[in-house]
C-alpha cells in the first residue's frame, strides 16, 4: 500500500519538467505556475503514506504504557528501544529474517526463470494447440486463490516432505506463475523474430538463443516480475503459516502474528517488529525505485 501512492506522487513530480522543455508550453509565460488543486491532492496523498509511517516509527519507540494510552500521534517520551529488544528476541529475528529471505529469494528466482521458460516456449509455438492451451491453463491459476486449495495442499506437502520453506517456494512460484507468464508473453511478442533468426544463422541452439539473446532482452520485464514476486513472497502470511510445520523454519510475518491477540495489545513491540520487517523492502525500494517504476509501467504499455 505504501509504495504505490508515493510512486504516483513522485512520478508526477518527475514528469512535470518534461512538458516544459518539450515545446508544448505556451511561449509567452515564463513564470512556472503552481497547480494548487493538484498540489493539494498530492500532498493529501503523501500524508496518507507519511502519517501511518510516522505512527509506526513513533509507536515503535514508545514505552508500553505510552503505546496504549490512546494518543497514536503523540511523540515518544521517553524514547525506549524496549520494543525492538522484545521484538528481536520474541520472533528470533535473525532466523525469521533469514527464512523470509530464503523463501523470497527462492520464489523470485524460480518465478523469473520458470515464467521466462514457459512464456518463451508458448510464444514461439503459439500456432500449436498444446502450447496455446497450456497458456490458458497457466492463466487459469489466477482465478484460484490459495485458501480454496489450502487443505489438499497442506496434505500433499506433508506427504511429500515439503512442509518446509521449500514447499512454500514451490507453491508461491506456482501462484505467481500465471501473472508472470502473462507479462512475459506480452513482452516477448514485441521482440522481433529477425533477431532470433540472426542468432540461428550463427548456429545458436534454442538453449543458447534463449540464454544469450532472449533472456537478457527480457531483463526489464524480469525486474517487474521479480518485484511482484518479491512483494508477494515477503508479505505472505497464510501460506507459510499453514505449510511450514516446523516453527523454527517459520517466516517473519507468521512469527509476528503473536503480538496481537483478542485480549492484549502490544503496540510498541508489534510496530518495532513491523518496522524491522519492512526495512528490507523499503531499503530495496529506495535504491531501485527507478527500475520499479519503469518495470511497473512496462507491463501496462506493452500489454
Amino acid at each position: 500500500m505504501t509504495t504505490p501512492s508515493t510512486l504516483t506522487a513522485e512520478e508526477l513530480h518527475r514528469t512535470e519538467p518534461v512538458p516544459a522543455g518539450s515545446g508544448r508550453r505556451r511561449p509567452g509565460i515564463k513564470v512556472e505556475r503552481v497547480n494548487w488543486p493538484g498540489t493539494i491532492i498530492l500532498v493529501l496523498c503523501a500524508v496518507t503514506v507519511l502519517l501511518p509511517l510516522y505512527v509506526t516509527v513513533s509507536m515503535a519507540l514508545k514505552t508500553q504504557g505510552q503505546a496504549v494510552d490512546g494518543n497514536a500521534f503523540s511523540f515518544p517520551a521517553p524514547f525506549s528501544i524496549d520494543g525492538f529488544v522484545q521484538a528481536w528476541t520474541l520472533t528470533n529475528f535473525p532466523v525469521g529474517a533469514a527464512m523470509s529471505l530464503l523463501v523470497t529469494a527462492g520464489t523470485v528466482v524460480a518465478t523469473i526463470v520458470l515464467a521466462a521458460f514457459a512464456s518463451y516456449a508458448i510464444v514461439r509455438n503459439w500456432e500449436r494447440r498444446l502450447f496455446r492451451y497450456s497458456f490458458y491453463y497457466l492463466l487459469a491459476a489466477m482465478f484460484i486463490p490459495f485458501p480454496v486449495v489450502a487443505l489438499p495442499q497442506i496434505q500433499m506437502t506433508g506427504r511429500l516432505g515439503l512442509d518446509n520453506p521449500l514447499g512454500v517456494i514451490l507453491l508461491a512460484t506456482m501462484f505467481q506463475l500465471s501473472f508472470s507468464v502473462l507479462l512475459f508473453t506480452a513482452f516477448l511478442r514485441s521482440i522481433p523474430m529477425e533477431l532470433e533468426e540472426s542468432a540461428r544463422i550463427d548456429g545458436a541452439t534454442t538453449w543458447q538463443t534463449f540464454w544469450q539473446l532472449i533472456f537478457p532482452l527480457l531483463a526489464p520485464m524480469s525486474a517487474t516480475v521479480g518485484i511482484f514476486a518479491f512483494l508477494y513472497a515477503w508479505n505472505d502470511f497464510m501460506m507459510p503459516s499453514l505449510i511450514i510445520s516446523d516453527p523454527a523454519l517459520q517466516t517473519l510475518p507468521v512469527r509476528q502474528n503473536l503480538f496481537q491477540t483478542q485480549f492484549s495489545n502490544n503496540y510498541h513491540v508489534s510496530f518495532a517488529s513491523y518496522l524491522m520487517a519492512m526495512a528490507p523492502a523499503i531499503v530495496a525500494y529506495l535504491f531501485t525505485q527507478r527500475w520499479v517504476m519503469a518495470g511497473v509501467t512496462q507491463g501496462a504499455v506493452k500489454g
Binding site: 496504549v68 489450502a150 540464454w211 499453514l242 510445520s245 516453527p247 523454527a248 503473536l258
Partner: protein
C-alpha cells in the same frame, strides 16, 4: 556475448539453490540422542512464562528436548490435516478443539497422575463441548473465572457496597449515575466483548446453561417456540434485563468503543464497573498499575444464592493420538501438572487451578470470585457453547445496538435447527 559470461551466473544460481537445500536439510536434523517433542502453547500473554518453564525442564533431564511452538491455532489445525500434529498442547478449550476430541484425534489421558488430581466437578465443563467414548481426551489446566470488574476506589468514594441482588444492582447504578459517574463502561464496537460480558453474565446469572444446552441438543431440529427449550422462550427475560442495564447505565459512546479503549478508559477511572474477564487486568495495569480493582458476580435475581461466575477452560492439555512421542509427552504433562508449577502458572495469569490439591491464595483482584468457584457456583457462557457457524456474537451486538430481541432469538432458533439438520 560469450558463453563464459552467462555460465557464471548460471553456476551461481545453481550454487544458491544447492545452498538453500542444504540449509533446509540441516534444519531438519535435531540434536541427536535426545527425544524431541513439540509443545504447542496458544496463550500469547504467557509465552515468557512458558519459555522459561520449558528451558527449566530441558535442563532438568537428559532424555527429552521440548520445543515450544507458539505459532497458534490455525497452524495446529493444519498440522492435523498433514498428519504431524504437535506431541502435546496446552490450548484454549473451545468448540474448535472439541472437534479433535469428537473425532478421536486425541489420546486417552485417564491413566496419568495428572488426571487423578483434576477436580471431578469440572468435568461437565469439559464434556459440554463434546467427548469421545471411554476417553479422557483433554485435561483442564487453567480455568478463568470472569464476572464484573469494579473500581474499588469509586465504590468507596460513593459509599456503595457490592450488590448481591438485582434491585441492589439497580440502586447502586442509580446512585453512581446521580453522582455523575458512569456505572458501566461498555465497548460494543468489539462484538466479543458484548457476548462474553453483557450477554453471558446476564443469561448465565439467571439460567442454568448446562441444562438449557442439553435440552437444546436433545430437541435438535425441533428447536422452536414449542420445544422444551429454545432461545426465544428462555433467553427473553435475561436479555430484557441486560438491555435495561445496557440502555441506561453505560457510557454514551459505547457503540464506537473497542476493547483497547475500554481498558484505557477504565484504568483512568471513567466508569465504576466493567464486564470483562481477568485477561483485562494486565491490560488495565499497563496504564494504571496500582488501581484498586475487585470482582463480583453480576446479580440477575433477587436471591443472593443464585450468584454465579462465568468460567471457561482457558487452557486444556491434550496429546494427539498421532503423536510418535506419547511417552515423552506424558512425562512432560506430569511435569506441567506438578502442584508448584501449575499453581505458579495460574497465579501469573490470574487463573484458577483445576486440581483438587490446589492452594487458594489468589490475587486480591479475583478474590471476589473464589467463594463461588470453590463451591462450584459456576456456569459456562452461552456464547461459547453455540457452534461458531452461528454468528452469536454478532447477534448479541445487534441486541445491544437496538435489534428486536424476539426477532433475533427466532433467527437464532432457526439457525440452531438448521445446523442440527445438517449434522
Amino acid at each position: 556475448m560469450s558463453l563464459k559470461l552467462t555460465r557464471t551466473p548460471r553456476t551461481a544460481v545453481l550454487g544458491l539453490c544447492l545452498a538453500l537445500l542444504a540449509g533446509l536439510l540441516s534444519g531438519c536434523t535435531g540434536d541427536s540422542g535426545k527425544e524431541t517433542i513439540r509443545f504447542t502453547f496458544s496463550k500469547r500473554e504467557a509465552i515468557g512464562f512458558m519459555t522459561k518453564l520449558v528451558a527449566d525442564y530441558n535442563a532438568s533431564q537428559d532424555s527429552t528436548e521440548v520445543i515450544l511452538d507458539t505459532s497458534g491455532v490455525d497452524v495446529v489445525s493444519a498440522s492435523f490435516v498433514r498428519g504431524n500434529p504437535p506431541d502435546i498442547a496446552l490450548a484454549n478449550y473451545n468448540m474448535e478443539t472439541a472437534r479433535f476430541v469428537q473425532r478421536g484425534a486425541l489420546s486417552d489421558l485417564s491413566g496419568t497422575q495428572a488426571a487423578t488430581r483434576v477436580r471431578k466437578d469440572l468435568q461437565p465443563l469439559m464434556d459440554q463441548y463434546g467427548s469421545y467414548p471411554d476417553r479422557t481426551s483433554a485435561l483442564p489446566y487453567s480455568v478463568m473465572a470472569s464476572s464484573v470488574i469494579y473500581n474499588k476506589e469509586i465504590f468507596a468514594a460513593h459509599g456503595i457496597e457490592v450488590p448481591e441482588t438485582w434491585s441492589e444492582l439497580l440502586a447502586a447504578c442509580d446512585a453512581l449515575k446521580a453522582a455523575g459517574v458512569t456505572p458501566f463502561y461498555a465497548t460494543w464496537k468489539d462484538d466479543w466483548t458484548v457476548a462474553q460480558g453483557w450477554f453471558d453474565y446476564s443469561v448465565g446469572g439467571q439460567l442454568d446453561t448446562l441444562d438449557f444446552f442439553d435440552k437444546l441438543a436433545e430437541a435438535g431440529t425441533d428447536v422452536g417456540p414449542d420445544s422444551p427449550a429454545s432461545f426465544q422462550k428462555d433467553f427473553e427475560q435475561p436479555v430484557e434485563k441486560m438491555l435495561k442495564l445496557a440502555g441506561t447505565y453505560v457510557n454514551k459512546d459505547a457503540a464506537s468503543r473497542g476493547y483497547g479503549d475500554g481498558n484505557l478508559a477504565f484504568s483512568q477511572g471513567k466508569a465504576a464497573m466493567y464486564l470483562q474477564g481477568p485477561w483485562a487486568f494486565s491490560e488495565i495495569a499497563k496504564t494504571a498499575p496500582d488501581l484498586q480493582l475487585g470482582t463480583f458476580p453480576l446479580p440477575m435475581t433477587e436471591n443472593p444464592e443464585d450468584l454465579r461466575v462465568r468460567v471457561n477452560v482457558d487452557l486444556a492439555a491434550w496429546i494427539p493420538e498421532e503423536s510418535k512421542h506419547k511417552e515423552a509427552a506424558r512425562a512432560f504433562l506430569e511435569y506441567l501438572y506438578q502442584p508448584e508449577i501449575i499453581e505458579a502458572y495460574n497465579k501469573s495469569q490470574l487463573g484458577f487451578t483445576p486440581t483438587t490439591d490446589a492452594d487458594a491464595a489468589p490475587d486480591p483482584r479475583i478474590e471476589g470470585m473464589v467463594e463461588y468457584y470453590d463451591k462450584g457456583s459456576v456456569y459456562q457462557g452461552p456464547s461459547v457453547l453455540v457452534p461458531r457457524t452461528i454468528p452469536i456474537m454478532n447477534y448479541t451486538q445487534a441486541l445491544v445496538l437496538g435489534a428486536d430481541p424476539a426477532a433475533t432469538f427466532r433467527t437464532l432458533d432457526a439457525d440452531w435447527a438448521r445446523l442440527a439438520f445438517r449434522q
